[in-house]
Amino acid sequence: MSELDKAIEQLRACRPIPEPQVRELCHKARELLIEEGNVVGVDAPVTICGDIHGQFHDLMELFRVGGDVPDTNYLFMGDFVDRGFYSLESFLLLLCLKVRYPDRITLIRGNHESRQITTVYGFYDECLRKYGSANVWRYCCEVFDYLALGALVTGAASNLPPSSAPFADPATAANMASDTSDVEIEILNSAGQITNRFPRQRRSPHQPQQQAPQPNSQPSSSSQDADVDDAPPPDSQATLSPSPSQSQGTNQLPSQTGAPGTSASSGARSQNDGGAILCVHGGLSPLIDTLDKIRLLDRKQEVPHEGAMCDLLWSDPDEIDGWGLSPRGAGFLFGSDIVKCFNHKNGLSMVARAHQLVMEGFKEMFEAEVVTVWSAPNYCYRCGNVAAILELGEDGSGGGYVPKSNGDVGRSLGLGGWEGPVNGEMRRMGGPGRRYRVFEAAPQDSRGMPAKKPVADYFL
């Protein structure tokens, strides 16, 4: 077994590796990352993950739910560190996996991958506590500077291949379309059972929005008419849950392409004809109107306080028109007009991003032109949210899906058409087939957690 494999094994057990080994790992990682462009090209199938924030045990749960590396391809959209108690183990494990399987895992930078932020929000203190010096923190920060700013996923299937995963609730199953050839969105729980499924909408003016998946579709919210109480409580679900290999198996396709998110096939197309997905930690920037402008940035630096690089890592989508000031103090708010324009111009079907806590684990906005994926369940051990990962399948059989690209449908409508019903027509195609796996926090192992801080002395 190689040194690297040993390190992976040790980190999987949530035990830090020795400082010299971290140094070497970081050195190798930098050599690898320096070769990546600011926008890394990634072929579907891939599983997209949001913030982790040092919640190591939940990262293990994520791998259990989504499949292990290298069986599943992963794209992590940053914020690996801070807040949780195991930032070090989480980040080093991901970094080891990156070095070991460079084509299977993609890491891009979040706003917490920064010297300034990590000194305040925990990662620096954790390194100091675990190694007695700041060296490891310094090595990691050097790696942060080399992380890509975004990723472009191409070759994603427009429809989800039919899966034989069981339904969590048979009553829901009865309500759902039996025709599985045209599934746009499928939501699964951590036991690998389908909790919801949405066929691709043929939106017409008469079809009210409620038919479409709610923008912030909670796994159970759309099936409220079904008897939710039938769903087994989390405990019994856990006992019902198949082992990771089984859950992979249940998703196996009849074809050879493999389940979405798995790497059974690697012959993905690389062109944008299906509408690529841009993955970035925060969002868009007023200084960036084309992907090429991201590619031209000099990223090998600490995250600046303003400018395009800062915005990509800090901005948030919001229900506004145009741009807004971000309440965070960095980055911008951007409205649906901005995203639609950007996606259209760049041949994108969707922007996937993280950065914002979503209680339901994921949230689609602006007719699915933007999705937020959040992968830290019960964030900071107190927020009570669930987490999600997004699986995109490989485009092998995406029949019936008219690719959206430059010069395509809707172009001729002119640009006045972003508002009003006409545009609903233009946007009817929506994004790629999306399978969300929602999961809860792993049972907490309290070892290694710092003792609760004493309350402040004086607080009036």
Binding site: P286, G322, W323, L325, I338, L415, V455, Y458, F459
Partner: protein
């Protein structure tokens, strides 16, 4: 200096002849309404003792180093109670320049923002700063019989703050309110949030800054507060020993700030000692009401929001979610204690000024909307 040396020094001080430093801005009765102009500053310039000299009782630090004027504002409340508010003020350069309205925490005083005010003005010379004093903290509220009114509910504290802003405007003859940033420390944060949420200041309110108070952790800490209060010395022999106690107990961590703010917390008693000016025990029934629901108000009120904390672990669930959803700006000053603006006045001022500049509507230019570009016939 070691703990031992400090306590030794304190003892030494106690033994020194009690040559009383002149009482500071002592009781309101001693002072007339006065307008000190900037030019009078030079005559009252005071020298702070350097750490090595601090065995010598310090000359009292005057508010005049930090603010241009103090005002006493008489006001009859709807309850028929008579208010005599006390505030420190440096006017903004004009009514387009921002006014930072500061509200101290319980048991503190308007001087809690004194070094902060200096740093703020250094960074933003056109800014005005109004540091108010709450009832029983420098302002007094008397009922028609002349007795002190002991109502400290959040609503009356909020109205006091609103009244003081209005009265200052009237006194100075401002035609309108300048853009206002509320800055509240601890209880003051709760009052600021309450005022922001009520929308009393209308569009004049640009934003609000809350310093080191979060509903969850504050309410959790309340049960220890009685113990903490009862373990404080009830009086000090000298002002210097009071300053020293604040530093030794780590309540305050910046000698310059402590030298300014601590004397304002104390009043001379008949036997020549220095006792607390504010009886916090009588405010106890109101404590929970100060902080209850504060996180939701903080998140839902209109205006830009900045939370400055001494430690990240002070966020409660609501604010943790709010922060991670990008609803407000959080700044952490790990080197500071609870009195962030006193322990790190420059850094706090820098954060607040940056916050203002970012949210300054007069300077704000956002990139155009897509629809506007289209209207202009531009290709997007």
């Amino acid at each position: 200096m070691s703990e031992l040396a400090r306590s030794f020094a304190a003892q030494k001080l106690a033994d020194l002849p009690k040559e009383p430093p002149q009482p500071l801005p002592a009781t309101p009765e001693d002072r007339e309404d006065e307008y000190s102009s900037e030019s009078s500053l030079s005559s009252t310039g005071t020298v702070l003792p350097s750490p090595s000299q601090h065995l010598v009782p310090a000359p009292p630090v005057q508010w005049t180093k930090y603010f241009a004027q103090e005002l006493f504002l008489q006001h009859k409340l709807p309850s028929a109670d008579e208010a005599k508010y006390h505030v420190y003020l440096t006017q903004p350069a004009n009514l387009k320049s921002p006014l930072f309205v500061c509200h101290h925490g319980a048991g503190a005083s308007g001087m809690s923002f004194a070094p902060f005010a200096l740093s703020l003005r250094a960074a933003l010379p056109s800014a005005g700063i109004l540091s108010i004093e709450a009832r029983q903290h420098g302002s007094s509220i008397l009922n028609p019989d002349g007795d002190t009114v002991n109502d400290f509910s959040i609503a009356v504290l909020r109205d006091d703050l609103a009244n003081m802003i209005t009265l200052v405007r009237e006194r100075l003859g401002w035609s309108s309110l300048p853009p206002i940033i509320l800055v509240g420390h601890s209880l003051g944060g709760a009052v600021a949030v309450e005022l922001a949420q009520k929308g009393i200041l209308g569009t004049s309110l640009l934003g609000y800054v809350v310093i080191d108070v979060v509903e969850g952790s504050a309410i959790e800490a309340l049960k220890y507060m009685q113990g903490i209060l009862s373990s404080r010395p009830s009086s000090f022999l000298t002002l210097e020993s009071a300053i020293d106690w604040h530093l030794r107990s780590r309540n305050l961590r910046n000698r310059e700030s402590a030298a300014v703010s601590v004397p304002s917390l104390l009043r001379r008693t008949a036997d020549g000692k220095w006792a607390w000016a504010t009886d916090l025990a009588i405010t106890q029934p109101f404590w929970e009401g100060w902080f209850q629901g504060m996180s939701q108000k903080f998140l839902s009120a209109k205006g830009a929001k900045l939370l400055i904390l001494a430690g990240t672990d002070r966020l409660d669930k609501d604010l943790m979610i709010g922060q991670m959803q990008g609803k407000f700006q959080l700044q952490v000053v790990p080197e500071a204690g609870h009195f962030v603006q006193e322990d790190a006045p420059e850094k706090t001022a820098e954060m607040v000024v940056e916050f203002f500049k970012r949210n300054d509507r007069s300077a704000l230019v956002l990139p155009p909307k897509v629809s506007d570009l289209i209207a202009q016939g531009k290709k997007v």
